[in-house]
């Protein structure tokens, strides 16, 4: 107890248009800008298919949800998508309250999310 209020952001590219962003720790008004920056950076480099791994996200608030929604809008404008991976029961509850469950695609694993993004891409 003590150090998990920080956020660790890890990004990994899969192919020339797909990238994974793993968010470990707590996402709030102080830490979320880091995640936003990382995602904007990927967007600028042409990665419009994003997998956001929330498996190790222990806390998340409306600032974080706002940034995820904002990023989703941007990638969709570019014909891409953003899928969430493995949010905790807690985070699912927040997605339900805010009705964002109806907006985001949610997968259980990164592999699943990546496969679904690829499929989406070939369909369009």
């Amino acid at each position: 107890m003590g150090n998990t209020i920080n956020l660790e952001v890890q990004t990994r590219t899969i192919d020339e248009r797909t990238a994974i962003v793993a968010l470990a720790g707590e996402m709030d008004v102080y830490t979320t800008p880091q995640a936003k920056e990382a995602m904007l950076d990927l967007l600028a480099k042409g990665y419009h298919h994003l997998v956001v791994n929330l498996q190790r996200t222990e806390y998340l608030d409306s600032t974080a949800l706002g940034v995820l929604v904002g990023t989703l809008k941007r990638v969709r404008e570019q014909g891409g998508d953003l899928r969430l991976v493995a949010p905790s029961a807690r985070i699912r509850r927040l997605l339900e309250i805010t009705r964002l469950v109806n907006v985001f695609h949610i997968d259980e694993t990164e592999e699943e999310a990546t496969a679904n993004l690829t499929q989406e891409g070939t369909e369009s």
């Binding site: 707590e26 008004v29 929604v69």
Partner: protein, 149 residues
């Protein structure tokens, strides 16, 4: 901890984003001692986080000085938390927000007040000209909780 009914805890923080986590953790510890279960403590953490974030982002907008004040009042079967900022306040009835029963628009804003209302048993915003904004939130200990240690 029924014995501590009537006790209160007060926390004063600079109006800066890095201190929202301090508020969350302090209130979570108070709630733990009152015997709230983990799910309720997580609800309380998010609501307090939202209220503090608003106090900092909107209440203290522009002002680089000023502190926000958090107060926990321990009732017999409820925790009352107030968050005060010295800002200009707002009209809660017209503020930009998501409506729980309205149509979902893909908005990045207005989620904070919705979360506060949904996660707490009661909440209330009072803006007093010249005396800032006070957000009052209540979480009740459920019957099955309150056994602790």
């Amino acid at each position: 901890m029924a014995a501590c009914t009537g006790c209160h805890v007060e926390l004063r923080l600079p109006n800066r984003p890095e201190f929202v986590a301090v508020a969350r953790l302090a209130v979570a510890a108070v709630a733990t001692r009152m015997g709230f279960d983990i799910a309720d403590i997580e609800d309380i953490k998010v609501a307090i986080g939202e209220a503090c974030t608003n106090a900092i982002e909107h209440g203290c907008a522009g002002a680089n000085t000023g502190m926000i004040t958090l107060r926990c009042e321990l009732g017999e079967d409820e925790l009352v938390i107030t968050v005060h900022d010295p800002g200009d306040g707002f009209d809660p009835t017209t503020a930009s927000r998501q409506h729980r029963h309205g149509t979902m628009t893909l908005s990045e804003r207005g989620l904070g007040m919705l979360l506060i209302e949904s996660l707490m048993d009661a909440s209330e915003v009072t803006c007093t000209p010249g005396n800032g904004t006070l957000v009052r939130m209540v979480k009740r200990v459920r019957a099955t909780e309150a056994k602790e240690r």
